[in-house]
Amino acid sequence: MSSPLKPLPAWADVALIPLINVTAAFIISGFVVLAIGENPLEAVQILITGALGDLDGIGFTLYYATSFIFTGLAVAICFHAGLFNIGVEGQAYIAGLGATLAALNLGFLPGYSLAFAAILAAALFGAAFAAIPGYLQAYRDSHIVITTIMFNYIASAIMGYLLVDVLRVPGQMNAETAPFRDSGRVPQVHEIMSALGFHWPVTPFNLSFLLALAAALVVWLLIWRTRLGYEIRTVGANSTAAIYGGISPARITVVTTLLSGALAGGMAVNVILGEEHRLILEYTAGFGFVGIAVALMGRAHPVGIILAAILFGVLYQGGAELAFEKPKISRDMIVVIQGLVVLFAGALEHMFRRPVATLLARRTAQPPI
């Protein structure tokens, strides 16, 4: 920690350092597998075969990846404004309520316009729930990290109450709503494929994936090609400078959290409208937190996020197969990997920077004449 860091070449900054960080996380994960008495290489093989070995695995992998693209984008867009939104989990949960209320109560809408209304409702509910901490950060100076953590628990309490006491079908044991009608669902890929005469195994993979890719493109355009995106990045880089530039950081904070919550709502579209077709208790299953790992690993860039989301999709689907074949490596292993990725790609992201900089400087230095 003596001399200041030398600037790294762009390729090292964009590709090499992140790759080293993620590799470090996976190497440590390998040691964890070794420590509980299993062979990490065999585990990787089972994991990859389970996730990508057949169409069935690929379907599940892309289904999980769809959720992760949404939650990753939701976290990332806040990163650009210098905000840490830990509340994606709760926002996605509340978005599920929006989707459900629309799908169950707007049945008079013709055809698939019901599904579109439900998607819109998911985005609106997610955005509204995210905007409260956003507003409190912007205008009441309360730290968004603490408030979004609190809001996750508040969401959980609200939804617990609604599902158990209000929305549950009378006489039903499980805390879940009635199923949606077909026009309130997002079509699954196997349905479309069989309609077209192709064979595709039954998986939850649905058209939300296309919506996720579109959202990634829109986020990219927004952040790097629009005036609002420029303002978001300026506030994130230096909010004092933003004020001098005539940008209101408070307004940008609220707008960014609105967008973030709407993106979190995408997860409700994928899981609630695309697969479950009813609202269930704790449907988010920690996927909002996976978004943090995905956003950090993808370095808050939509392309990086899509790649990281697919990697985590592989981990979740392959991890399920792995837990089946090797009961010792339970699905908790995936949470460990996720945490290590956040640790190395996020908290310790500069740990390898100095050694790499020294190494590169030594290689490119001219020998003394």
Binding site: H143, Y153, I292, K328, V335, I337, G339, V342, A347, H350
Partner: protein, 323 residues
Amino acid sequence: MGWFDSFIVVFASGIRLGTPLILGCLAGLWSERAGVVDIGLEGKMLVGAFASAAGATFTGSVSIGLLAGIAASIAVSLVHGYASIDQRANQIVSGTAINMVAAGLTALVGNAIWSQGGRTPQLPADAQFGSIELPFVHSLGAVPIAGPIYEHLISGHDLVTYLAFLLVPVTYWALYSTRFGLRLRAVGENPAAVDTAGISVRALRYSAVVICGVLVGLAGVYLVLSQAAYFQPNMSAGKGFIALAALVFAKWRPWPALATCLLFGFLDALAIRLQGVELPVVGPVPVQAIEALPYVLTVVLLAGFIGKAIPPKASGIPYVKER
């Protein structure tokens, strides 16, 4: 059972539920007062709980369990310290990572060793903390009002509970009446000034992080060796985050921290007590509303509607020596 007895039962239960909150909250207080934000309390509590269960299960000794829990929690704290102090990391990211790794690793290892879905075997009674009877309980128990309060509310808790209550004045004294405490608080407000005085910011922050590890580790130990007698995945169930909320609510001060944690513990006890109870006018009690109350209260406080919670000025900001 009269209302007075119910009152005592709920309060005693509130003390038991509040104890891990007090320890977690004091842990966060030490760390954040020194400028290291810690949202990883939840994860450390979990690690402390798991290690104490593992230690006590393997050796059958409650003291080994206690030491193992604290040692493991300190180790995790040092990871957070290394990231926050030496690597100048984003402390929120580091805390998030610790929560994830802790949740996954404890369940994974527990399942790999005992093959009970992450649960550890039930500990025998001599590998747990027993309840301590204070002197004259039986003779004083007959005194009206004060007697039952002494017998059921004040007496009969275990070592960790009394330790938690004792640690509140100790923390207060150490932070406000010792040189170390003054320096530690200064490092959370203005580290540059401390550095100028020739005192190591790094050493102070590391000691705060270690103290935090000890305290929150104790909270985890309490969950296993005093309450459940086994570990199960995610058994901290958000207590680390409630402790964090209590810390904000108490505005980073020891005595209000005690009061807040007892309030939150009492709310928890009340929610359990009122489960399924029908009130005359309201009907069935919406238990979720009581459970969510600590979080709602904290948000309302943070929003500045009841007083103002201002964190230590340098908390969350890595210290960079000027050159």
